[in-house]
């Protein structure tokens, strides 16, 4: 188990390194207006050149990379230019991280419980009402773009339930809508996969043997089918973490939650390059971490992986 973890840590670190470098290089293609802030039209060409040089953007690429990594390792993520001029990114982020984390974890928790529950329910009543309702739900959520149904949720919940649209730190009630909206997508995913895995397991030989032993159907379900269906589910967890991150971009923007997603959208709209760069980096790092944890979780659940060091088959 230890050997497997180490192997995966190294793999993740390598991937992270490649990702960060690629992102960094991509960033160099960003529109240059992003470095000048307001009043950029008042600057002439020479002044612009100076500014760019002061940011090290005219240095040869390997030098830029080296400087970037050395400041990164010191914890310096760059300084914002437009959003909050001259303020280091890390300072800006400190205030925002909590909201995104809270939102993300809460929605993962909710969607896990409800989604898996729904999936089990659907597989038990295959073809009947619960299954049909669940399928409609999954289809609509998966097909219709999140952008659209988020809007409708906002629209109708404020009218019918009088839930606040805009987020307010002092009102815990205002958390409900964002968490619910964000969970919907992952929930559909969990329900769909759980149902599929449970149905798949039901067709396997060892289930027939369990029945032949004289086990009740319900016991077969719980002790064999569900337990075994969880394992591939663990594989799906990392993907849903990715989804949660993506969703947070949206939700935070819609509900004006002062988190990192909203920040990214803002930074993009205002063209604050260093901020965009830093955020993309962080998101990449978080998702790599999420995927690594997911693989680890799967290894914990499936004894075959533990003892045979099978790499994640994603």
């Amino acid at each position: 188990m230890l050997r497997y973890s180490l192997k995966r840590i190294l793999q993740s670190a390598l991937t992270l390194f490649i990702v960060i470098t690629v992102v960094f290089l991509l960033m160099r293609l960003m529109p240059e207006e992003g470095y000048f802030g307001t009043g950029s039209d008042k600057l002439d060409a020479a002044q612009k050149e100076n500014i760019l040089r002061s940011y090290g953007l005219r240095d040869p690429m390997y030098l830029q990379l080296k400087n970037f990594y050395s400041s990164l390792l010191k914890g310096d993520l760059g300084t914002s230019i437009i959003y909050r001029p001259k303020v280091p990114v890390s300072v800006i982020l400190k205030g925002k991280v909590f909201y995104s984390l809270y939102l993300g974890l809460a929605s993962i928790g909710v969607s896990l419980v409800l989604g898996i529950g729904l999936g089990i329910l659907m597989s038990q009543y295959k073809g009947k009402l619960w299954d049909k309702l669940g399928t409609v739900y999954i289809v609509v959520i998966n097909a219709v773009p999140a952008a659209v149904y988020y809007l409708f949720i906002q629209l109708y919940t404020t009218e019918w339930f009088k839930l606040p649209i805009l987020f307010d730190v002092d009102k815990p009630v205002s958390w409900i809508l964002p968490i619910v909206s964000m969970s919907l997508g992952s929930m559909a995913g969990y329900a769909m996969w759980m149902r599929r895995y449970m149905v798949d397991e039901l067709n396997k030989d060892y289930i027939r043997l369990a029945k032949a032993k004289g086990l009740k159907n319900s016991a077969v379900m719980v002790r064999h089918v569900m337990r075994n269906a969880f394992v591939p589910m663990a594989q799906y967890l990392p993907t849903s973490i990715l989804l949660t991150i993506a969703g947070s971009l949206y939700i935070e923007y819609l509900y004006s939650i002062p988190g990192m997603g909203g920040l990214l959208i803002d930074a993009i709209q205002r063209q604050d390059n260093p901020l965009v760069q830093a955020l993309v980096l962080i998101y990449s790092a978080v998702s790599i971490l999420g995927l690594f944890l997911g693989d680890l979780l799967m290894a914990l659940c499936d004894p075959r992986i533990k003892l045979e060091h099978q790499g994640g088959s994603r």
């Binding site: 396997k204 030989d205 060892y206 027939r208 043997l209 369990a210 029945k211 032949a212 032993k213 004289g214 086990l215 009740k216 159907n217 002790r223 064999h224 337990r227 075994n228 394992v231 499936d302 004894p303 075959r304 045979e308």
Partner: protein, 346 residues
């Protein structure tokens, strides 16, 4: 001599399946008697219906299959009428247990072997915890697994094929059944392991007073273990008798063909005997004897009327018009007359 007690009596069983919208008749009025303490072998080609026939005794037919008519009498109850899960729970494991063909997939890959056997013990012997574990270790020893303590904690993928089959047998034994159905128990195993497993089953049969049904297509296995043999073709039992009856005095042309196919009877330098043609299409209704189209010695009546059982002796009967007094004398193939002489080689 003690008259054998019939514990399972099947009469004219018909089982159908719904496949792609069409109906397939998998078992066509098959009848069989099972006597206490014996080893009955059911032989037949793939697709003859051997597995389906036996799954019906435990209610393990696939969802698209059903018992259309006929009766399965077990200890006075007609299992053909059993519909609900509760009914079958009285039979499964407790009365009739099954050993499946493929030990690789028969065990839950994510549960330890010990837990899987213990599950059966807890269900049928009413024990829990440490007491149950002790019984499990005893059973593991019984089926020939060494170091049971260590093996108890291991997962199926850490066992070899033969060991896994022993585990599956252990699970079946733990249920303390009356009848044990072994569906091709050695097909998926090496030849050397096959003999061990059959030996093991014989020993267990004595120790636990089991009645065993062996489903197989391997006549070698049959010669080894069977007291009585039932030959199945196209969903019907066309000949049934003691092992001696069927091997040394076969009556049905299909049995002749089966026996002729034994490679041990082949003459060096000459092509091996094969049965020409393929089994019939079970989607269509079959007129007369199902084997007739492939039978070079068929009578015209074989294509028109289905033959009933003809008794050859108290223990031996076959469904062939050749046994009708009106039928002409048809010689058995020369090759199978030699089986008695070749017996040792089987």
């Amino acid at each position: 001599m003690e008259t054998p007690v019939s514990i399972l009596s099947v009469k004219d069983l018909v089982i159908k399946f719904n496949l792609r919208g069409k109906t397939l008749t998998a078992i066509r009025e098959a009848s069989m008697d099972l006597y206490k303490g014996e080893s009955l072998a059911i032989v037949g080609e793939s697709g003859s219906g051997k597995s389906v026939f036996n799954k019906a005794f435990m209610g393990l037919l696939d969802k698209n299959g059903w018992v259309e008519s006929g009766s399965i009498l077990y200890k006075g109850k007609d299992l053909a009428n059993y519909k609900t899960e509760n009914d079958w729970l009285k039979i499964r494991g407790k009365e009739i247990a099954m050993v499946f063909q493929d030990p690789m997939t028969s065990l839950n890959p994510l549960k330890t072997v010990g837990k899987q056997v213990q599950e059966a013990v807890e269900l049928h012997q009413g024990l829990r915890g440490e007491a149950a574990k002790k019984v499990v270790l005893d059973i593991l020893k019984d089926v020939g697994i060494s170091e049971p303590e260590k093996r108890y904690r291991q997962y199926p993928f850490e066992f070899s094929g033969g060991m896994r089959q022993r585990v599956v047998i252990a699970i079946a034994i733990a249920c303390r059944p009356e009848v044990l159905i072994c569906d091709e128990p050695t097909t998926a195993l090496d030849v050397t392991i096959q003999a061990q497993i059959l030996q093991l089953l014989k020993g267990l049969q004595e120790k636990y007073s089991l009645t065993i049904i062996y489903i197989t297509h391997d006549l070698g296995v049959v010669a080894n273990v069977a007291d009585r043999v039932a030959v199945m073709y196209a969903g019907d039992i066309i000949e049934i008798g003691t092992a001696d009856d069927v091997f040394f005095d076969p009556q049905h042309p299909y049995t002749w063909a089966l026996l002729s196919s034994l490679p041990q009877l082949g003459i060096k330098g000459e092509p091996l005997y094969t049965i020409h043609g393929t089994p019939p299409n079970l989607f269509k209704e079959i007129k007369g004897d199902a084997f007739a189209p492939r039978n070079p010695r068929a009578l015209q009546v074989d294509f028109v009327h289905r033959p009933p059982y003809f008794e050859v002796s108290e223990t031996h009967k076959a469904k062939t018009w050749l046994l009708d007094p009106r039928a002409p004398k048809v010689e058995r193939p020369k090759s199978i007359e030699n089986i008695r002489a070749q017996w040792g080689v089987l």
